[in-house]
Subunit: 210 residues, 4 copies
DNA sequence: GATGAATGAGTCTTCATTCAT
DNA sequence: GATGAATGAAGACTCATTCAT
């Protein structure tokens, strides 16, 4: 019995070992310089071994993406569970946290973005499941906050699903514009625009006239 | 003098010839299948010749991106110059047009997105100039519309620069979520969310109480 | 004794289990996509276990080939045992049946062909035995038919051994030309040539002047 | 002008260089041990260069096959142009020559067989053309011989197309049985069977009663 | 100005086999 | 008896770039 469990543990460790190497490469060299053979070297494992644990390069990216989404989720979750915080305050804090996340965990952000932007990636069913779970949890938190706000009378009966997507979409879109700060955006400080937008978004659902 | 001009013309024509081939590949095969040698075959020009006119593959992509932005600009410009249309109506139409553009000119959208999302691209000064000009014109149009709305009393003194960026960022962010329609977004119809968001955005700047 | 027999039975069952998986792969994915690890997955057995029961991939192919030859044999045998059928009729029916076999059991045909065509396969003694038994039974049937024909006066004292090999060789050679139907054979209908040839073959041994 | 021609010559030479290496490998190591990287090493050319001259491994095989068919054709052609030889004699000599060819140029035979037997190869149009030309010339010779025989009254009005295919198919099928000589064929001397069959084939078309 | 031949490192992936448990 | 983790060489193919002509 103990043997089986140990085996399982070891297997899990190998997966971690591979992911560690991949993550390291992701952080140090960027997403475009990750290749199976590099991962194999970095992890001190044979190429075949990598394929034994992950059936494609994409699978490794997905695992990494999940990691990133988990990190992001836990950050956001921390904010959400602060009982005393008002819903609108929560939204603002979440937006702040997301901005920080894209700055402090750039590699994770890049990989999440990679899947979102790349025109060629189509998840298969199993992969969809994973991404779904990881990604939708974040949206769910925002939805819950809207719900709370609606219930407490703080918000003006906004559609939680639609608004949460709009909220997240706006943040995400603006983050992408970061690199245009000094070109297209004509030195408009993106951070200020970001804050401005978050305020507007919150205004949208706040009860008017109050 | 005449000789010089003719030379310049010819040079411009060669550049077009190359771009035509690249564009054709972009549309027919997708961004991932563009390679210099393919462009060379498609353009009936030698590989070396391509390198004489564009110093890297990236340069070609940039030119293509500009094209895409030009197409997009002219669509938006058409809407803008309709004198009788109200500013808020214009914003809605622009949003519609952008959605259509990302659908009907997917290849252009992908290439624009490619530069926006890819973490590795850093423009040099000359490249920045180009992208700047092409991209900022679009934002400018939106800014002008806000201005008009502010002036005509239709809008409530919104910050034209900031709001236009927010507006565009929201649209762009939501478009990116298209592929999550059936996973993370849990079958929420993205088009409906898009329309919902555009309405909210317009509401933000409309004069309240009216 | 009972224990030994049970062990033997179990061993036989494991071998079947493996072969079932291999056959399934052969039929569903084609001969080029059979690998030990695929067989292992399909058979729910460990890779090592496969190697315990078959000492190489080739051994499995051989077993599969035998199966194919068995199927073919039984088809041909069915024809042979029809007491009332004339020998020349039998030959024609066998030719028909072989054509159908190569069409309807392509996977089996391919594997038989694999060993016949591949220049690298050299059977060891044990393997030879197996193939011998399976393959020669078919030729034996044809030989017997020639014998019968010779005896009954239907055939003109043809050499049973030589003629049966010629007969089979012709059929086999023509089948291989199937894929040349639209190239080298210049749209000559291979099926018609096949029938034509079978008729000629039968004529060869039929008593002349009758 | 001279430059262009020299370039063309050099290009042709490179193609030969590659083919030489491939042919050498084919003869010395067998068809299964030909790989692009081996060819590249053997020809002292970069891998990319190989691909510059042949767009796939298959293309090289095809060129090699053509070579083999050319060799075979010229052998058969030599026999055909012997004006004084009777048609039936020619057929017998061609059969002999084919047997010798499969013995003396085994590598070429293997490669021809490779394409004939392999279930996975499907020629594209351009490739079909090549193989067609090379392969059909051989059949054509046989057809012409039949024609001649028919015309001279030597043969009994056999269908040239059908019979030539049957003729070739029989030879080819029997050659394949070579390796079964000591197993399935039960030590029946394949060479004798081959000769026996050729005789029978010739008898088929010879005017009867003569 | 224009060409296109040459490169070779790099891509992902497969696979038969072994061996410690 | 049974397992399955580990391997690493090998597979075909791509590609941006250079440079002699």
């Amino acid at each position: 019995m103990g043997v089986k469990e140990r085996k399982k543990m070891e297997k899990q460790m190998r997966r971690s070992q591979i992911l560690d190497a991949a993550r390291h490469l992701l952080f140090s060299e960027g997403i475009d310089h990750i290749s199976i053979s590099r991962i194999s070297k970095a992890s001190q494992l044979g190429v075949g071994t990598i394929y034994f644990y992950y059936k494609s390069k994409e699978d490794i990216f997905i695992a990494l993406q999940e990691e990133g989404l988990d990190v992001l989720f836990s950050i956001i979750h921390q904010i959400h569970i602060q009982k005393k915080m008002a819903p609108d305050r929560k939204l603002i804090q979440i937006a702040d946290a997301y901005y920080a996340f894209t700055r402090d965990h750039q590699a994770y952000f890049n990989i999440i973005n990679y899947f979102l932007s790349s025109p060629k990636i189509f998840f298969n069913e199993a992969q969809k499941q994973h991404v779904d779970m990881a990604g939708s949890r974040i949206l769910q938190v925002i939805q819950e906050i809207i719900h709370q706000g609606n219930a407490s009378g703080c918000f003006a009966k906004a559609d939680p699903k639609k608004f949460s997507i709009m909220f997240w979409g706006t943040l995400h879109g603006l983050i992408q514009f970061k690199k245009l700060e000094h070109t297209t955006l004509q030195n408009e400080n993106i951070r200020q625009v970001y804050d401005y937008s978050v305020n507007k978004l919150v205004e949208i659902i706040q009860k008017k006239g109050e």
